[in-house]
């Protein structure tokens, strides 16, 4: 049995500057193994920057980040334990690859540079596709999929690695309500399997009862709390209250606790 208190991600006093502006201001945050953490905050609050720093894609100007107990810039083979679902508008949907090939890419880091894919890699990719329910679309190209299907391809790619840590950056953008619902039930299954999940969202309506902790971010960390704590709803009100424009994206300016029969 895995020790539930084991710290998987440790962010300590991280400050990131961009073009002279402070994007993140001494943010500290820890994520324990098996925990489902949602990072919420309005656009421009530094959520994606925090995630990119957490994955080692950006170097913080100050502060330290450790993932799996190792400084993030020294992660090597442990990187194959990370599944990442990036924001998908940067992806060229006309790139000449099939859905299956994209999902197989999730295994490349584990396979190693210059080595060929093996049967177990292809099996893992296929299993990931089945898990997100799009096994029948494996030979399609991205351009021939809907927004929700595309999002599932990238989730399958992250899962192909059988990750211990799954990081999703705004996975519900451009995805309809049904697909969003499917995504959350998938995440709940993964959480039960022991996967540590970090979900970034500007949409506070997504915050559901099976999320363990919420990190409210607005350049600095406003609150790090459990969804049902009053401090948490106060923090969200405060954050979104000053950004009234974001009310379009969600029904109410407080946490929506979804009713799940098994939650």
């Amino acid at each position: 049995m895995i020790d539930s208190a084991e710290t998987l991600i440790e962010i300590k006093d991280v400050t990131i500057l961009r073009h002279g502006l402070t994007v993140l201001d001494s943010v500290s945050l820890t994520v324990s193994r098996g925990e489902f953490t949602a990072i919420v905050g309005p656009n421009g609050s530094g959520k994606s920057t925090l995630v990119r720093a957490m994955l080692g894609l950006i170097k913080p100007d100050r502060g330290k980040i450790r993932v799996f107990g190792v400084p993030v810039d020294q992660l090597h083979e442990q990187r194959s334990k990370i599944g990442y679902v990036p924001q998908i508008f940067d992806i060229d949907i006309n790139f000449p690859v099939s859905v299956f090939e994209i999902v197989l890419m999730g295994r490349y880091g584990r396979i190693g540079v210059g080595r060929r894919t093996r049967q177990d890699d292809r099996d893992a990719a296929m299993a990931a596709l089945e898990k997100v329910g799009i096994g029948d679309l494996k030979d399609r190209s991205l351009a021939r999929l809907s927004g929700g299907q595309r999002q599932r391809v990238f989730i399958a790619r992250a899962l192909a690695n059988r990750p211990e840590l799954l990081v999703l950056d705004e996975p519900t953008t451009g995805v309809d309500v049904t697909a969003t619902g499917n995504l959350y039930s998938l995440l709940r299954t993964l959480k039960k399997e022991g996967v540590t999940i970090v979900l970034v969202s500007h949409d506070i309506g997504v915050v559901a009862s099976y999320i363990d902790t919420i990190a409210c971010l607005n350049v600095s960390l406003v609150a790090h709390c459990k969804p049902d704590e009053e401090v948490c709803s106060n923090a969200l009100c405060e954050m979104y209250g000053s950004h009234a424009a974001f009310f379009h994206h969600s029904d109410t300016p407080h946490i929506v606790v979804e009713d799940h029969p098994d939650a």
Binding site: H76, S80, P86, I91, F95, P96, M105, Y108, A143
Partner: protein
Amino acid sequence: MLESFAFAYMQRATVAGVLVGALCAIIGVYVVLKGLAFIGAGIAHASFGGVAIGVWLGINPIWSAIVFCILTAWGIGITSRSSHVKEDTAVGVFFASTMALGILLIGLKQGYQVDLFSYLFGSILAVTIQDVWTTVVITAVVLATVLILYKDLMFITFDSEMAEVTGVPAGRLYFLLITMMALTVVMSIKVVGIVLVSALIVTPAAAAYQLTEKFRNMMIIAVAFGIGSCVVGLILSDILGIASGATIVLLSTAIFFLCAAISPRRRRTKEL
């Protein structure tokens, strides 16, 4: 009509055309899909500076161009990756300065203008046996690299960030890719010239892109178009007595427009 092929110079030209056509097409696939066309043009213009250094020093300009183009490619890569300069801005800075350096050096060394013209616009018929061997070696190295790193280069071309997150050394592979681009540019100088080389890299791959949704097929079709353009362009220019480099490039452009016209991608866009 093909009696010219009895001459050694024409045979050398054909071999160089086949190799360079294939080489440009392979690198072109990455250039088109990763959006590196402007870097390609930048490296091509930098090769003018590289050639000029060779002329100035009195050494084979191919060698000086190889070194200079690789350094320029790395310079563009490092500048755009590490500082707050956009990639196209970085290219713009190197593009002009390396060209200016070339002009300056050539000005210091009088009497090379004719030779220079062949570097700018290609002179495939002047390919030497040494050029052919250099091209054979470089093509073999690039081909082997692309075959061995096939999946990894495809990954960083598609999604460099995800590659990095999962432990694929995306940065090093990127620099390898632009190094191969620099080598390809220099190998192509004799065939189509500095001014036209970026077209030979981009166009066959762009044409192939119109016809397939599979990466491997795109590469195979691009190579066929690249070789076809070079060989047929060479023959046409010989028969008609016109400039070979320009004929090759215009032929590949014609193939591109033909492919764009019949592209299933275009039909799909209409369906949706």
